[in-house]
Each structure stands twice: as structure tokens, then as C-alpha cells.
């Protein structure tokens, strides 16, 4: 008997299985369906660096976390309401994060003696049979067996049939949350259009999972989650790297410049290269270079030729690009350098997130080498942040660093997307030969201190540029001491002046002044926002400001910070923005740091800030 569905305000589900179990796809498809129901949501895919770690091992566990609800959702959530574990290793590495009394759905076939051994469980102590799962609602489902049975006669081999296990699980969860199969069927029909056998098997497994409750008694509970109150408009789901791809393409069209993207594959930035490569009908030129240095050098060469030159990488790649970034500063050439940060130093934690390249972006070059830094705060923010980076690069004739991170890159959320026609054109003009025939001066500056963009092929503007110090105005080589100091100061001032061309910093939520300002940047947006809202609701004088512009800072930032007794800077690093804020403003900002390759959890930041607020 199916009972009445119970209503839930929010649910956190973690899909966990072996790398080959298709958990990223399962999570992604469940997320797509969730988005269509109007829930707000946030996701966090978490996968190993190894492409196929040995099957069944703890190292091979791949996970996908989804938080959805009828209220605003800012983070993928701390602890899970529901854990789906496809094998013993997935259970072992995730059980500690399941809420007390939460639901654990396990695929029983993933708990044979081999799986137990690989998960480092005592073979005689099957967690499904002892007291390990006491206090949880446990659903043991023979997923493999039931998937095989549901497919029945098929030309597919056992291995291929077993690959449909994830569809069985997905079907069950769609039923459990009172969904239909429509979205998933549409996806499967499109994906396996030319593979009727595989399509048939996947659909059968999906439907069998959906109908599981008819045959298994414990599975009878159903839930609903009402739509969230989101701003009116058109929505789609977006992950961070896709947001950057779209922002770059739209910026290039609005600027009227062909987009050139030079890149070398690196996790977690590669999907920007993949994404842009598809958009050749928007005039996008992608170039998979031989290394990180050639990637940035080719982008600078393309900018020199009048394209919008962009390169993208992650931390180790940014280190390799340092010298060329210095050249771009010297050439005063438009360029966007995207760094999708990951755990470091060195190879570090390639598939885990971190915000530890801020100091590298700010200072990691030889000489006095200032450049603007723009950051993305969440998947739905990447589009605008990327456009801003392009705008600043072109209008101010400077390389710009755009910082994102692995958490933003792979995480998805609903995005109220804009219409391209509503966005203004961005003005850019190449230098032209003067009408009076006067000699072209490549380092003559405008009111923004930007020099002219003079591209080869233009008559009358012959000139030479390079990495050797330039004489002011003429751009000729100069070793003159006073000129060098003047040029160093001018390049610095040019970057600082960008503060006059960016919006003022605003408070995202909470109070405009008071006890604690949570000052964040990058992917801590969600946790800063949810903690601030919680504390403000409880009457505490807390505010949240999130910086998009890290260099220069918005002009009103200092005044804003001084309106609070304490400024707390949460970062997924060992304290980087906090150093810059203390240095620049002589203000005793308080760091809150987590360096575990994972986002900051709501409860830990909440506790920390609670201790700092006035409870009088």
C-alpha cells in the first residue's frame, strides 16, 4: 500500500558508488528533474583523481551531493538525509556524514566478501548484518539482481546489463520524491538514439526501480518538496565552467571581437576548453597548446592580432604562466587568465577544491606586476564574472585574472539567465592612423591610463613592443632610472583606477553595520549567505559582503568594513584574503579557515560567528 506523500522543506541526498557505477550521471539526472519541479538546489560532485581506481576500493568512491528544497538553498548541505551507497566502500566513506535517523539505501550486491575486503571491513562483520547501521532507516535492495531480472532477455552481456544499475536506483528515487520519469526518459531516448538495445535495457531498469514499491514493502514512503520562492523568470541549470564558457562567448560578441581560447588540459579547468570548442559557429577559436606557457603565449599573440585572447588553467598551470603574465602587464595587452583553483601546492588535490591561489594571482610574478583580479562566487555568478573580466581587460588594456574553483566549476544550481539582447554592447576601438599624420605613440594613455590597442595590419601604426622597460609615451626601450619608476607607478595606478569603473560593494544579506561582517570571496558565498541569514533571523547584527573584485577593491569597502566590530574572512585556504585586507587597511580582520579540499560547512562557520556576536 502506498501512503500519502509527506512534505519536506529540504532534502540532502548523497549518491555514492564506485567510479564506474555512474553516480555522477545519476546525480545529474536527478538534479535536472529536481530543477524542473521548481525547487532551489545546490550540488557538489566529489570524485577521485584516478580515472578508474581499482573497483570496490575506498579510493575509487565517487559521490554526488544534492541539496534541494522549498526554501532558498545556498550550499550543498553538511550532513545527508539520504545516502545511496552502491557498495561497501561507498558506505564506509560516507556513513559518518549521514544525519542521525537518516536513510541509508544500499545495493546489497555490493557487500559480498570481496567488496567488504576492498572497503577494509572485516569480512566476517558485514555492516548490513551487524549494528553498524543502528539508528538509521536502512533499505537493503538487491539492485544488481533486480536490474538483471528487469532487463530479461537482451543481446547485452552481463557487464553491460549491470551498467544499468544506476538507472534502477534513479527510478526508485524519482518515485520516492513523487516525480515522473518524463525528464529522464527524454534524456535516455536522446542519448541512446542509435543504440536501441542499451536504450531498452536502461528504460527497463529505470521503470523497475520506479515500480519497486509495488514489490517491496519498506519502500512505501513517498515525499514531496514544494517549489521554492525564486525570483520570476526563465531558469536553467548551470555549473561554473559552463557559466564561464557562456560569459566568454557573449562577451566576445558584445565586444565584436573573435574569441581566442588557448589552453592546455588540466583538472578542473578542462571543461571550459571542451565547452568552447563546441561553439565554433559563434566564431570561437580554440587552440589546445603544447603546454601552459604556449597556451597563454598564443592567447597574447591572438590579442596582439585583435582577438579577445583568453587562457584557462588551474593552480599549477598559473605558476607556469607567470612569466607570460608579466609580459602581458608590460605589453599592456588585453588578456583574461582563468584559474579554476584546486588543492595545492604542486599537484596537491587535483579534484578537490581550494581558494589557495589568491596570493599567487596577486603577487606570483617577478617585478612589480599588478593586474586586476575578478572572482566567481557560485555557478550562477560565473557568467557575469567572466564578462566583467573581459570588459576590464579590453577597456583598460590589461591582463585580468578570473578566479574560480573546483567546487564552483563542477557544482550546479538554477540560474535565472539573461537575454543577450538585453545586455549592452561593450565598446572597443582599435587605434587608427591619425589624420594629421603625426607619429603614432604606442604608450600614450587615455583618461583610464589605458594605451591604444594597435593591431598589426593597420597602416601608419608601425611600432615594436616587448618585455624590456618602455619609455613613457614612445614605447621605445628605456633603461632610464626615473622613467622605470614612473612606469612602475603608472602601471600600478592604472590598475587601481579600475575602482572607478566597477560597482560599489553591497551587502548581500543581513545588516549594513553591526557586530560581525562576513567578508567572503569565491565559493564560500553559499555558506556565508546561509550563516548570515540564520544569525540575522535570530536577531544578531551580522552582515555578509562578497567580493567579486579582489583587485582593485571597490572604493567603499573600507567604510563598509569599519561599520562592523569584527570582520570575519572565511576562506578555503590558510588565510590569504585576510592578509591582503590587514595589509591594505590595517584592520584586524579575523580568519576562518578550512583546508580539507571540501567546502566550509554551515554548522562550523555558524558556531564560529556565534561566538563573536554580541548576545546582550
Amino acid at each position: 500500500m502506498v501512503t500519502q506523500a509527506q512534505e519536506k522543506k529540504s532534502v540532502i541526498i548523497k549518491f555514492a558508488g564506485d567510479s564506474g557505477d555512474g553516480m555522477q550521471l545519476t546525480g545529474g539526472l536527478f538534479t535536472d528533474d529536481t530543477a524542473f519541479t521548481g525547487s532551489d538546489l545546490s550540488t557538489f560532485p566529489d570524485f577521485p583523481a584516478e580515472i578508474r581506481a581499482p573497483i570496490g576500493t575506498l579510493a575509487g568512491v565517487s559521490g554526488f551531493q544534492l541539496h534541494f528544497g522549498s526554501q532558498r538553498i545556498f550550499t550543498p548541505g553538511d550532513r545527508f538525509d539520504v545516502l545511496v551507497a552502491m557498495n561497501a566502500a561507498a558506505l564506509k566513506s560516507n556513513l559518518k556524514m549521514v544525519k542521525k535517523g537518516g536513510t541509508v539505501i544500499v545495493s546489497e550486491d555490493g557487500f559480498d566478501s570481496k567488496n567488504l575486503r576492498l572497503a577494509k571491513y572485516d569480512e566476517t562483520q558485514n555492516p548490513l548484518e551487524n549494528n553498524t547501521l543502528e539508528g538509521y532507516e536502512v533499505m537493503k535492495i538487491p539492485v544488481t539482481k533486480m536490474t538483471r531480472e528487469s532487463i530479461g532477455d537482451s543481446t547485452l552481456g552481463t557487464k553491460e546489463r549491470d551498467r544499468c544499475k544506476n538507472m534502477f536506483v534513479l527510478g526508485f528515487l524519482l518515485w520516492r520524491y513523487s516525480r515522473t520519469l518524463d525528464t529522464t526518459l527524454k534524456f535516455l531516448n536522446a542519448k541512446f538514439k542509435n543504440k536501441p538495445d542499451i536504450l531498452d535495457a536502461n528504460i527497463k531498469a529505470l521503470q523497475a526501480g520506479y515500480n519497486l514499491a509495488d514489490t517491496v514493502e519498506f519502500a512505501s514512503d513517498r515525499y514531496t518538496v514544494a517549489p521554492a520562492e525564486l525570483e520570476k523568470g526563465s531558469y536553467r541549470s548551470i555549473n561554473g565552467n559552463d557559466g564561464i564558457v557562456l560569459g566568454l562567448v557573449v562577451a566576445s560578441k558584445k565586444l565584436g571581437l573573435p574569441l581566442f581560447y588557448g589552453s592546455y588540459p588540466i583538472t578542473p579547468a578542462s571543461s571550459i576548453l571542451h565547452g568552447l570548442s563546441k561553439h565554433k559557429n559563434f566564431g570561437v577559436r580554440t587552440f589546445q597548446a603544447e603546454d601552459e606557457i604556449a597556451a597563454i603565449a598564443s592567447a597574447i599573440g591572438a590579442s596582439y592580432g585583435g582577438n579577445l585572447g583568453v587562457t584557462g588553467t588551474s593552480g599549477p598551470g598559473l605558476a607556469l604562466k607567470g612569466e607570460a603574465m608579466g609580459l602581458a602587464v608590460m605589453l599592456e595587452m588585453p588578456l583574461v587568465v582563468i584559474d579554476v583553483q584546486r588543492g595545492g601546492p604542486s599537484t596537491g588535490l587535483p579534484t578537490k577544491t581550494e581558494q589557495s591561489d589568491l596570493l599567487q594571482a596577486m603577487y606570483g610574478r617577478n617585478g612589480e606586476c599588478p593586474l586586476p583580479i575578478v572572482s566567481c562566487s557560485r555557478p550562477s555568478d560565473c557568467f557575469e564574472a567572466a564578462m566583467e573580466a573581459c570588459r576590464i581587460a579590453v577597456q583598460h588594456m590589461t591582463p585580468v585574472v578570473l578566479l574560480s574553483d573546483g567546487y564552483i566549476a563542477n557544482g550546479a544550481e538554477p540560474w535565472k539567465y539573461p537575454k543577450a539582447s538585453d545586455m549592452p554592447e561593450m565598446k572597443v576601438e582599435f587605434a587608427k592612423q591619425s589624420e594629421d599624420g603625426s607619429q603614432f605613440m604606442p604608450y600614450q594613455r587615455d583618461e583610464k591610463l589605458a594605451r591604444p590597442w594597435a593591431i598589426p595590419g593597420t597602416p601608419g601604426l608601425l611600432h615594436r613592443i616587448g618585455g624590456i622597460e618602455k619609455e613613457d609615451v614612445t614605447g621605445n626601450i628605456s633603461y632610464d632610472p626615473a622613467n622605470h619608476e614612473h612606469m612602475v607607478k603608472t602601471r600600478e595606478r592604472k590598475v587601481e583606477m579600475i575602482a572607478d569603473y566597477i560597482p560599489a560593494q553591497k551587502i548581500e544579506s543581513g545588516h549594513e553595520s553591526g557586530d560581525v561582517l562576513l567578508l567572503g570571496w569565491g565559493s564560500t558565498y553559499g555558506v556565508c549567505e546561509s550563516v548570515t541569514r540564520s544569525l540575522a533571523e535570530q536577531g544578531f547584527k551580522v552582515g555578509h559582503a562578497h567580493l567579486r573584485y579582489l583587485r582593485p577593491f571597490p572604493a567603499n569597502l573600507e567604510t563598509m568594513m569599519r561599520g562592523f566590530k569584527t570582520v570575519v574572512i572565511p576562506e578555503i585556504n590558510n588565510g590569504q584574503l585576510v592578509k591582503i585586507i590587514r595589509d591594505k587597511f590595517l584592520l584586524p580582520a579575523v580568519p576562518f579557515n578550512k583546508i580539507q579540499g571540501t567546502p566550509i560547512a554551515h554548522e562550523e562557520l555558524f558556531e564560529f560567528v556565534l561566538n563573536l556576536v554580541d548576545k546582550g
Binding site: D32, A35, F36, G38, P227, L230, K232, G233, S234, Y235, R236, D242, V249, V250, K253, P258, F260, H279, K280, N281, F282, G283, R285, A289, E290, D291, I293, A294, A295, A297, S298, G301, A302, S303, Y304, G305, N307, G309, E323, A324, L327, Y417, P418, K419, A420, Q433, G437, P456, G457, T458, G460, L461, L462, H463, R464, I465, G466, G467, I468, I477
Partner: protein
């Protein structure tokens, strides 16, 4: 001769000096670079190149100051990376005549990676490698082309590096135009430069260039009158490989083994000699291995100069733009609003 409108609209004919800038040339007096600069300026004028459609891109090193002396567009980039800057530039604007200026350290040591990829991709540009077998700008350390056992400030007891053979390397990278010339033979250099310019694809030219400060006379056996005829072999398309003061020596192939023969003896005539065919990759490979000291013994092979190899292969940027055009043709110009909305959307009302 080229005609270009000057700012007042009056056409004029360009001469070599029109390609010279007002900057003082700062190479050491007696440096081989002067001769190369002169020949490049002359050749561009003779070819009718328009200065504003010509770009010189260089790396770091003595030779890489070259762009500052050319009244064209120019970029003095960073060490070893000039090929990568030039690649991006050619994608942005395939119509430009681009010349990469580099040296043995710049191209073959720090920039070895980019050099290899530039050649295999076959961007339509020219690369002039000034080979002086030494690091000049950093004051005399041995380079990747220095001979073995070379004593330099960084190798006071002699170097133990085996030198790279630039021509063999270029052929190994499937370069589509491979040539060698020398600073002391302006006429030969000009001829090679003209052929390089006419070639569509990456034209690689190794120029033997004397560094009179740190490695003086490195190539003198090839450049000085009394030895040149016996040590050098000037490659001419369709002509037999003949050298020596009065053309008394030749090279024949015994199977795949090249052999120096005496044409004054009765055994061989010109008809027995290897006839140069720069379309033959295998033979170009053998010619590239004429790399030992030609004065070592009477049987030693001479050092070849001229075009070793040339072949037609579409350039990278031409293929890139063909692909872009084909996709634009089949898919039509992209619609930004559709792109932003993506596959599936929903409304909140």
C-alpha cells in the same frame, strides 16, 4: 618593388632602408647579426612586402633584439616562446607575413618544445634560427649546438653535452621547409629567404652566424675563402652534389651511404652523382646527417647549405579557418539567446 601610400597619400617605392627603424643597433661590432638584418631588410623590400602587414616576433637572446630594428610591427617576447606568440597571432590574422627570430638557445634549449610543435603544426610563417653555437647575451656559456668538450665559463673542464642537429630535428618534426644558410654569404641568404617567403607553411632556416666575442670563428671553415669550397656543399634543385675549388669532388650514394668521390679520377663522372631533389624526405634525412667535421679526413662529407627539403601541407591556421567557415556554413551563425538558454529551461511565474 612595393608601393604603399604614405600618410599624405603619395605612393612611394620601398627600399631596404625603409625597413630600418631609427633605433641604434646595439649588437657588438662585427657580429654576424648585422649581415642578417641587412639581408632581411633588402629581401623584404625586393619582395614588395608592406611594412604594416609584416610582423617580427622574437624570444630572448642577442638575435631576439631583431624586431626593434625592423620598421614593421614587432614583438620582443619571452625566452623560447616566440613560436607560441606567433601561432596565436597567425590564427587571429592569417594574412600577416610573420617572421620568428630566434637563436640556438632560444629555439633549441628553453624553447625546444614550442619549436617542435610549431613545425609539426605548420603555421604559415618563417623562422630564422641564428645559430652561433654559444650563449652570447649571458656571456659565453655553451649552447645546445656547441661542439662536445667545449670550454666555457660554465664548463671550464669541457662540456659533456652532445650537440643537437637542428636540420635533422626539423626534419624529424615533419617541417615542410628546411634550409641552411650563413651570415657571410649574403647572396645565398637572400635566395633562401625568398624561397622561404614563397613557401606556404612553416619555413625553417638555420643561419650560421658568427659571434665574434664569445665563439669567434665557429664556422670559419665554411665561410673563409681558402676552406669554403672544400667544406661546403651548395644544394641546388635538380643539380648533382658537386663541391671543391674547381668542382672536382662530388657525392654519390652507395645504397643509402653517401660517399665523397673524386671526379678527376676515372672511376666516377658527374652522371654517377646524387642529384639533389628537395622533395625527397629520405634523402633530406641523409643530407641532414652530413654533420661531422668536413676537414677530418679526405673522405669527410661537406656541410650542405640551401634548401634540404620542401613539401606542401596545409597550414594550421588555414585549416582552422576552413573548419570555422564550414561549421558556420552548416550550422549558421549561432544564436546567443539559444546558447544561453541551453537544452532545458523552466519558468518561475
Amino acid at each position: 618593388m612595393a608601393i604603399e601610400s604614405n600618410p599624405t597619400g603619395i605612393p612611394y617605392t620601398l627600399k631596404a632602408k625603409d625597413f630600418a627603424t631609427d633605433q641604434d643597433v646595439r649588437w657588438c661590432p662585427g657580429c654576424g647579426d648585422y649581415s642578417i638584418l641587412k639581408q632581411v631588410q633588402t629581401t623584404l623590400a625586393d619582395l614588395g612586402k608592406l611594412p604594416h602587414e609584416t610582423v617580427f616576433v622574437s624570444g630572448i637572446g642577442c638575435s631576439s633584439r631583431f624586431p626593434y630594428y625592423m620598421e614593421t610591427y614587432g614583438m620582443h617576447s619571452i625566452h623560447g616562446r616566440a613560436p607560441a606568440f606567433a601561432s596565436g597571432l597567425k590564427i587571429a590574422n592569417p594574412n600577416l607575413s610573420v617572421w620568428v627570430i630566434t637563436g640556438d638557445g632560444d629555439a633549441l634549449s628553453i624553447g625546444g618544445n614550442h619549436f617542435m610543435h610549431l613545425l609539426r603544426r605548420n603555421f604559415d610563417l618563417n623562422i630564422l634560427l641564428f645559430n652561433n653555437q654559444i650563449y652570447g647575451l649571458t656571456k659565453g656559456q655553451y649552447s645546445p649546438t656547441s661542439e662536445e668538450h667545449k670550454k666555457t665559463p660554465s664548463t671550464p673542464f669541457g662540456s659533456i653535452d652532445h650537440p643537437v642537429n637542428p636540420i635533422a630535428l626539423a626534419l624529424g618534426c615533419d617541417a615542410t621547409f628546411v634550409a641552411r644558410t650563413m651570415d657571410r654569404d649574403p647572396k645565398h641568404m637572400k635566395d633562401v629567404l625568398q624561397q622561404a617567403d614563397a613557401h606556404r607553411g612553416t619555413s625553417f632556416i638555420e643561419v650560421y652566424q658568427n659571434c665574434n666575442i664569445f665563439n669567434d670563428g665557429a664556422f670559419e671553415i665554411f665561410t673563409e675563402k681558402d676552406t669554403k669550397a672544400d667544406t661546403t656543399l651548395i644544394l641546388e634543385q635538380g643539380q648533382p652534389l658537386v663541391f671543391g675549388k674547381s668542382g672536382e669532388k662530388g657525392v654519390r650514394l652507395d645504397g643509402f651511404t653517401p660517399q665523397v668521390v673524386d671526379l678527376t679520377a676515372d672511376e666516377f663522372t658527374k652522371a654517377d652523382l646524387w642529384v639533389h631533389d628537395n622533395a625527397d624526405h629520405v634523402k633530406a634525412g641523409i643530407l641532414a646527417r652530413f654533420f661531422d667535421n668536413p676537414t677530418a679526413s679526405p673522405d669527410s662529407l661537406p656541410r650542405p647549405f640551401g634548401v634540404f627539403y620542401r613539401t606542401g601541407r596545409p597550414s594550421y591556421e588555414a585549416q582552422l579557418h576552413e573548419q570555422l567557415d564550414a561549421i558556420m556554413g552548416s550550422m549558421g551563425e549561432g544564436d546567443l539567446d539559444k546558447l544561453i538558454a541551453g537544452g532545458s529551461t523552466w519558468q518561475i511565474n
